[in-house]
Amino acid sequence: MDLVLDIATWISMLIGCFFVLITGYGLLKFPDLYTRIHAGGMADTLASFLIFGGLALQSGFSLVTAKLFFIVAFLFLTSPTATYALAQATFVAGLKPKLDGFGEEADNTESETEDGAKPNNSESKSD
């Protein structure tokens, strides 16, 4: 039984480590801020889930497990919020993303977003 748990911990945490490393690598490698946000956000989701899951397997059923669960829940609540605040602030600051995506569709939406964001942007400046 212990062996099974240990192996599960190993697998879970190794995969978690893999994703953590990918996160760091992505943070360095991606071309612009918007894409880096994706990379940075990864560490908060699956990687934390796997690593804390692995730890929870080791701790057995105790209050420690509850605390681990709270940390994961806390991360799941705060990390997208921080990411959103970051992305939104970036957008308001007017940083242009590098798009080499869907051709004309991307151009379309981009002009649309500018229409949508401009008035609000000026509103926030005025008060």
Binding site: G54, L68, I71, F74, A82
Partner: protein, 97 residues
């Protein structure tokens, strides 16, 4: 070599990569992002080290880190957006006028 040690090293390497991004920039937002990522990884690292040393009461610390990371990021972004810490995100008093 336990799995904890392996993961600790992996997370450390990742922290180093994120720190490189924080120092390189180029924009301030990149640095905030990197800082936030460092914070999250630190939370994981603390938990892992706590288990490595057999002292799971380190988890309280991990929670404090997660909390401070969140508040710090919000404060930085707010400063950037409005140039002041006074106003709420809601901008409720005066935003409507």
């Amino acid at each position: 070599m336990s799995i904890f040690a392996v993961s600790a090293i992996a997370i450390l390497v990742s922290v180093a990569l994120a720190l490189a991004r924080a120092i390189m920039g180029p924009t301030a937002y990149d640095r905030i992002l990197a800082l936030n990522a460092i914070g999250t990884k630190t939370v994981m690292l603390i938990a892992v080290v706590g288990f490595m040393n057999g002292r799971p009461d380190f988890l309280d610390l991990a929670i404090v880190y997660a909390l401070m990371n969140f508040i710090g990021t919000l404060a930085v972004l707010k400063y950037f957006k409005f140039g002041t810490l006074r106003r709420g995100f809601s901008r409720s008093s005066g935003g409507k006028s």
